[in-house]
Amino acid sequence: MRPIGLLAAAVMSGLSSAALAAEESKGMPQLDFGNVLTKSQVVWLALIFFVLYLLLSKWALPKVGTVLEKRASTIAGDLQAAQTAKTAADAAVAELTAKTRAAQSGAQAEIAGAVEAAKAAATAQAATLNARLDAQLAEAEQRIAAARAAAMGALRQVAGETAAVVVTRLTGVHASQPSVDAAVGAALAARGLA
């Protein structure tokens, strides 16, 4: 046990003092193995340490371990729940987006249909109006043509009668009907009216 004494002396060397050296000569109580208390201390140490080990390993440490495991499982459960909630929220958002998109495209189709229908109706209306106007125009032209024809027919008779009257009044000669008619016809033909 000499090395231990030397070590202790080395430890204390920094503190100097002759008193310490004197103390050293008396020896350390720790190295007094003749003392019955030094040995009984070890026996009690063995007993206390062994009982402490048993109580800790069989009773106290498992208690703490259970608490830690419980916390770990609580946290894992909470994380799981959060994950599930997140998945549900994501699905709901996706559904919402899809529904919005569907509603948008439906509305657009409806608008397009309505515009198409309105256009078709406008076209149809325009077509009937055109047809009616065309018909009226055609009728009016016909009437004009008829009136013109009637007027042109009457023109020859009036011209003939008028020419006969004018010849009679001017010359006193009663012009024959056929010659007057021929002259009127030639005059009209010359004017492009016959």
Binding site: I4, L7, A8, V11, M12, L15, S17, A18, A19, L20, A22, E23, K26, G27, M28, P29, Q30, L31, F33, N35, V36, L37, T38, K39, S40, Q41, V42, W44, L45, A46, I48, F49, V51, L52, Y53, L55, L56, S57, A60, L61, K63, V64, G65, T66, V67, L68, K70, R71, T74, I75
Partner: protein, 254 residues
């Protein structure tokens, strides 16, 4: 100097006496053992009252108990591997027993059982016996290959084997003396500086200068207390981690 008249009794504090009155005296129950009992109860109390709230968000005491539990468990698994879980209760007991012993010893009028070589050597021997038994149980006679690392030149066997055996046998010695010497040194310094305070204050030669000068060793003692708190933790940690390293060697053989 005054030192001659009032010798500093730096080692008297380590003297064993019986505790718990006549009953303790009849079974040679020392004050050292009383401190062991108190620290054992403190450790059990910490774990019991720490685990009792079972709170998901721990309070202070529960956090302390869990920190001790998880810290030492992590150390066991990190150092030894998965087999370390089996040794966790032992390493935990050892660490807490040494740590609380070191810390309790810093209280005035208490006793530091880790300042007794008989105690530290007993703990170290327990570790070494455990390590050897574990190694023999896992590896059988193959354990002895530990003393001759694979791949070493056969020619060097006469040198390597004795060196390995000596280093193996010196483990309990270094393990126990490290803790013992640290605790003794700290407490001796406390005692010496405390004696200086009284000597200087009571010195006739120094007069009122002595009273002022006595502040010096007192400041030193205050600083030393902080340092010793660090040493108390450090030595308990070193004791536990070396135990883990030895157990790693026992389980894995190098």
């Amino acid at each position: 100097m005054a030192a001659e008249e009032h010798a500093i009794d730096a080692l008297g504090q380590f003297k064993l006496t019986t505790a718990l009155g006549p009953l303790g005296a009849s079974v040679n129950f020392t004050q050292s053992n009383l401190m062991m009992l108190i620290s054992g109860l403190l450790i059990l109390g910490l774990m019991y009252f720490g685990a009792r709230p079972q709170a998901v968000v721990p309070g202070r005491l529960q956090a302390l108990a869990e920190m001790a539990y998880e810290g030492i468990r992590k150390m066991c698994i990190d150092q030894i591997g998965d087999e370390g879980k089996a040794f966790f209760p032992f390493v935990f007991t050892l660490f807490m027993f040494v740590l609380i012993g070191n810390l309790l010893g810093l209280l005035p009028f208490s006793f530091t059982y880790t300042s007794h070589i008989a105690v530290t050597l007993s703990l170290a021997m327990t570790v070494i016996v455990l390590v050897t038994v574990v190694a023999l149980r896992i590896h059988g006679l193959h354990f002895f290959s530990y003393f001759f690392p694979a791949g070493a030149p056969k020619l060097l066997a006469p040198i390597i084997i004795p060196v390995e055996i000596i280093s193996y046998l010196s483990r309990p010695v270094s393990l126990s003396i490290r803790l013992f010497a640290n605790m003794v040194a700290g407490h001796v310094m406390f005692e010496v500086f405390a004696s200086f305070i009284l000597m200087m204050a009571a010195s006739h030669a120094l007069g009122s200068f002595g009273v002022v000068g006595a502040v010096g060793p007192m400041v030193l003692n205050v600083l030393l207390m902080g340092f010793e708190l660090l040493v108390a933790f450090l030595q308990a940690y070193v004791f536990a981690i070396l135990t883990c390293i030895y157990l790693h060697d026992a389980v894995h053989l190098h």
